[in-house]
């Protein structure tokens, strides 16, 4: 199925308001959807006979400092049909007291578990409904989220100077 056909299917199922934007200028088109509808759309893509996206390849988080947003990109792949689809959700970056919140896909794709933990670890995105949201690569008492564009490393960690 092509990108447009999958988009039509999503609009048919959830209404036109679920689609926020689409970007078809690059080599791989990306569909941006409302973040609250993400689990429903993913569940639909996973279970529908026409799409059957059974494989979640990758979850990428990107921090847009200038626009003040943080986005999460999901690369779906269907092994039986051999087609790809890219979904994107966007939310505000939040501030020191409130981290951005995005619903989890763990219940549909169990591979999302560690990908989301990684995004939480490095970007500080809270995945709502995640069963085990802990830091995965960094120590549990590390301060800050290193892949954010405005990240400043802490001065000392357990008495070790961090900056070299």
């Amino acid at each position: 199925m092509t990108f447009q056909e999958i988009k039509e299917l999503i609009i048919q199922e959830f209404g036109a308001e679920v689609v926020v934007a689409e970007n078809i200028s690059g080599l791989q088109p990306v569909l941006t959807i409302v973040k609250d509808k993400l689990p429903l759309v993913a569940k639909f893509l996973w279970s529908s006979d026409k799409t059957f996206f059974d494989y979640l390849s990758c979850i990428t988080a990107i921090d847009n400092l200038k626009a003040g947003t943080i986005e999460v990109i999901y690369n779906f792949y269907s092994i039986p049909y051999n087609h790809h689809f890219t979904l994107r959700v966007e939310t505000s970056r939040g501030d020191e007291n409130s981290l951005p919140v995005i619903p989890t896909l763990c219940e549909i794709y169990r591979t999302a578990n560690w990908h989301e933990r990684e995004a939480f670890d490095l970007f500080g995105i809270v995945f709502e409904g995640h069963p085990d949201l802990r830091r995965i690569l960094l120590p549990a008492d590390w301060e800050g989220y290193p892949l954010r564009k405005d990240y400043k490393e802490q001065e000392y960690y357990h008495g070790i100077k961090v900056a070299y």
Binding site: C58, T60, W114, E118
Partner: protein, 406 residues
């Protein structure tokens, strides 16, 4: 630098603060116990730490803790031009650097739109070195797996054979493990004069050794008893967990990105995709995963032979051939997002790029490493197995911690 300063302030709570166990001792049922396996343990294949909840000899739950080898690949990538990231890509999966480089470079060439203009000789050399590296990586996987379950000889035999591959690759590019050989739009050097003959000699030497290996390890009665019916991974679970590579193929799915995506010159080459059939036990057990790796070695040998035929025939060395001729002076893709994937020995390696179009530094470069995803299934594999089988399961996943932690 003055060194009289105290480098590390010891405090007894530091460990509990930085790497706490997920399970609290008071939450354990009676008879249950937390055993901490790793990070400094020879059979965890690097610095993997496992928090194991045991009930006598039975494993109830395994909680992996990673990050001991985290080298901030993605942060580095955001501050370096595309071509200077290639050495960092090498250090992700340090046992199969050529394969990682190949995938990374392929993605950039697709973004630049030059992937179909490259000379065929370059593509054949890339596939040749990548398949040599795939052999080396599988040799380490099978050899160290033998050690894990108590067979020492295959490790020595395979390291001996891997040494030949490393010397060949060292001859090609000067380094034994971290090559920086495949460049965007070309290669560092052409193959050295005489490489094709030496490589053909090596393949001739290797073929009987593979038969010996199969007799020594795969069909060994003790090996079969240790691995058959252990750590069974059903196919639906494997797909849902995003497993790829030999893990997924051992569960019975004929799925290899070299065939599915048909990138580089793989469509022109003739090779099969081995899948697990459950000959000694159940489909998707540890024995199947290892047997798939051995069969893949045969397929790699087939690919190498075909590449050598091409490189000495249709696309043979000429005086005018310059592998750096197509290398762009500045790598500046248009503003776009791009996800590229390719088959490394461990599975699907992916890179997600975002370029802004006005600089040659990526805005974001995410590495989707196969080991990271394959490792996440370990808890499902090892529930209610014996503690000794857990060691067999870790080895059969073939994790390289450099790639898990990036």
């Amino acid at each position: 630098m003055p060194t009289d300063r105290i480098q590390y302030i010891y405090h007894k709570d530091n460990l509990q603060k930085s790497e706490p166990t997920r399970t609290k001792p008071e939450d354990l049922k009676s008879e249950e116990m937390i055993i901490n396996l790793g990070p400094q343990h020879p059979s965890t294949h690097g610095v993997l730490r496992l928090e194991v909840i045991t009930d006598g000899e039975f494993v109830r739950e395994v909680i992996p803790h990673m990050g001991y080898l985290h080298r901030c690949f993605e942060k580095h990538a955001e501050n370096l031009p595309y071509n200077q990231i290639i050495p960092f890509v090498d250090r992700m999966d340090y046992l199969a650097s050529m394969n990682s480089e190949h995938v990374y470079v392929m993605g950039l060439e697709k973004m630049l739109g030059i992937e179909n203009t490259l000379p065929k000789r370059i593509e054949y050399i890339r596939v040749l070195v990548a398949e040599l590296n795939r052999l080396a990586s599988h040799f380490v996987a099978i050899g160290t797996y033998g050690i894990d379950i108590g067979a020492f000889t295959p490790f020595l035999w395979l390291m001996r054979d891997r040494e030949h591959i490393q010397r060949l690759l060292e001859w090609v590019c000067g380094a034994r493990m971290l090559y920086n050989y495949i460049w965007v739009g070309g290669l560092f050097y052409d193959l050295p004069v005489g490489f094709e003959d030496r490589c053909a000699d090596f393949i001739k030497y290797l073929k009987p050794k593979m038969k010996e290996l199969e007799a020594l390890v795969i069909n060994n009665k003790i090996f079969i008893q240790r691995t058959a019916n252990i750590g069974i991974l059903p196919l639906d679970l494997a797909i849902n967990y995003g497993c790829s590579g030999p893990m997924l193929r051992a569960s019975g799915l004929k799925y290899d990105l070299r065939k599915v995506d048909g990138y580089s010159v793989y469509p022109e080459l003739d090779f099969d995709i081995p899948v697990g059939k459950g000959e000694m036990g159940t489909v998707g057990d540890c024995w199947d995963r290892n047997y798939v790796r051995v069969l893949e070695c045969y397929e790699s040998i087939k690919i190498i032979e075909q590449c050598l035929v091409q490189l000495t025939g249709t696309h043979k060395r000429t005086r005018e051939f310059d592998p750096q001729a197509m290398v762009p002076k500045k790598i500046r893709p248009k503003a776009m997002d791009f996800y590229v994937r390719g088959e490394t020995p461990k599975g699907e390696l992916g890179f997600y790029f975002r370029s802004t179009g006005n600089t040659d530094i990526p805005y974001r470069c995410k590495g989707r490493s196969p080991c990271f995803v394959n490792l996440s299934v370990i808890n499902e594999l090892s529930k209610n197995t014996m503690l000794a089988d857990l060691i067999a399961i870790i080895g059969s996943i073939d994790v390289v911690m450099g790639e898990v932690d990036r």
